[in-house]
């Protein structure tokens, strides 16, 4: 179908992450600078080498805690001279910055693109508990093309929409709350070995069932935990990547397709965007799900991780409940280590790039106490509803 797969020209050469605070006393820009300087140094580069900046979702509503720093501000603050920079919400989900940055490299615009994602929802919620409500995204009448179909029915949070997916999954496939709980319990088990994780105390099934019901069948522990943090990834052209101190992590394949309406309710309730995304990703590589050594899959809400497992072919469709049951298969020593840093449920809602950061740490063998068995292939995927993107990453 295509005579050239652009992502093959691009590799990850460096990663960085600020402190993960709940809340952090640092400014959003300081968190961003901390992450970006660490990533640039990790790649063996200097500021002068960076000639592109990418971000999802970009500066969002003048400093809104969902995305307080965009590429324009960062470019100025870091004094970067760039050939290309861009950010914005509309794209294939939280990995959009990486996908756009890789395109900028593959088209010859840039050699080294700095991709970042900053989020300060912990301090944002501390100032105003209702700050994140969907009904507060617009002032007065809802003018949003998308949210106007939900907010009049008191859908104030994404969790209501995810709960609709979860309930349908339970109905069609017989998935149980005990099975769903394993996503949270597995995350917490891994977070215990992650010094940066927000929640590190062990979690039992009883704890899960004791947690508050938010929107049936999703409980508090099915929802990720707000934090203040920034994560940065340096992408480099494949030839330039060879010069760095880290073995390049190639982007073997990306998934970004959406073959349905961009909508939270007109999209397949049991697939969302994930199956479109995964089909595209697997069409661009000779690798198969059997090659994957670790999976870092979006757990903004636990049900989303379950659907990603199915979409990516890590278990059969409808079987994610039985696949995660008991937690052994998805544990660090299991057949498919999942969200090895605790994910967003326990690690903190770094929102997207955290999965890529962890995939790289594991591939490079730098994950410390939580390091799993050496492997060469990892998958990172992020998004829910109509938002979805995935990366197949290979360390040769």
């Amino acid at each position: 179908m295509f005579d050239r797969l652009f992502e093959k020209d691009v590799a990850i050469t460096g990663i960085g992450q600020s402190e993960v605070g709940r809340p952090s006393s640092k400014s959003a820009m300081r968190l961003t600078v901390d992450a970006c300087l660490e990533a640039i140094a990790d790649a063996g580069l200097t500021r002068e080498d960076i000639d592109g900046v990418a971000c999802w979702p970009g500066d969002n509503n003048n400093g809104d805690s969902f995305s307080p720093v965009g590429p324009s501000a960062l470019k100025s603050v870091l004094g970067l001279n760039v050939n290309w920079f861009g950010g914005g919400y509309e794209g294939p989900g939280p990995l959009t910055g990486i996908i756009n940055g890789a395109m900028a490299i593959a088209t010859g615009l840039c050699r080294h693109v700095l991709v970042f994602r900053t989020i300060t929802e912990s301090s944002g919620r501390a100032r105003n508990k209702a700050a994140g409500a969907l009904s507060n995204k617009t002032v007065g009448r809802d003018t949003s093309y998308f949210w106007q179909w939900y907010t009049p029915f008191n859908v104030h949070s994404g969790v209501n929409l995810m709960a609709l997916y979860a309930q349908r999954h339970f109905h069609e496939y017989g998935t149980t709350p005990e099975q769903l709980a394993q996503i949270a319990i597995n995350g917490r088990r891994n977070a215990a070995l992650n010094p940066k994780a927000v929640y590190r105390t062990p979690l039992t099934l009883d704890d899960y069932f004791a947690s508050r019901m938010i929107s049936t069948p999703l409980r508090m522990l099915d929802c990720d935990v707000h934090c203040d943090a920034s994560t940065a990834i340096v992408l480099s052209r494949a030839d330039a990547a060879k010069d760095g101190p880290n073995p390049p992590i190639r982007i073997e394949a990306i998934g970004a397709a959406l073959n349905q309406a961009w909508s939270w309710d007109q999209i397949s309730l049991t697939e969302m965007a994930t199956f479109d995304v995964a089909r595209m990703m697997w069409s661009r590589t000779d690798l198969t799900p059997a090659d994957i050594g670790s999976a870092q899959l979006y757990d903004g809400f636990s049900i989303l991780t379950m659907i990603w497992l199915e979409a990516l072919g890590l278990c059969p469709r409808g079987e994610s409940g039985r696949f995660v049951e008991g937690g052994q298969r998805i544990a660090r020593e299991g057949e498919m280590p999942l969200n090895t840093n605790g994910g967003q449920l326990s690690g903190g809602r770094t929102h997207g790039l955290g999965y890529v950061h962890e995939a790289c740490l594991q591939l490079w063998g730098r994950a410390g106490e939580r390091q799993i068995a050496p492997h060469q292939v990892a998958v990172a995927a992020a998004g829910g509803g109509p938002l979805g993107g995935s990366l197949l990453l290979v360390r040769d």
Partner: protein
């Protein structure tokens, strides 16, 4: 409880205001002879501009639902049911609404429902109640 209300435009007003005349209005494509939602000036299937609102039965069933317990904004009465209702008029024709008039725990997937309009200002919200 007060609700966030949608801004109206020529495409969306029939859906939000059809209840004034007791009708649930859904956009329909003449060449496809099919309904689609949300309303738009063009059919997403065949790209025909020969589209417009038509009254539907207002009957359907619960495709999925959730009982919301969290008070997201001040003054929000909980619990309440958010559901996706699939209309009887066409397979796959569905949208988000609320199920009202029964205990939240009585709601179930596939439960038959019919539209019940709730007027707020110039909006007639198409809510749904169980068909006894």
């Amino acid at each position: 409880m007060s609700r966030k209300l949608p801004a109206l435009n020529p495409d969306t007003a029939p859906f939000w205001q059809g209840g004034q005349h007791g009708k649930l209005m859904i956009h329909h494509c003449t060449p496809c002879a099919r309904y689609f939602h949300p309303p738009a000036p063009i059919c997403p299937r065949c790209a025909s501009l020969d589209v417009g609102p038509r009254p539907v039965s207002g009957k359907g069933k619960v495709l999925s639902f959730t009982i919301n317990h969290q008070q997201w904004v001040p003054g929000l009465d909980v619990p309440y049911v958010v559901a996706i209702i699939e209309l009887d008029d066409q397979e796959g024709l569905h949208f988000v609404s609320n199920v009202i008039g029964c205990q939240p725990e009585d709601v179930a997937i596939d439960m038959p429902v019919r539209v019940s309009f709730s007027q707020v200002e110039d909006i007639w919200l198409p809510l749904f109640e169980r068909i006894a």
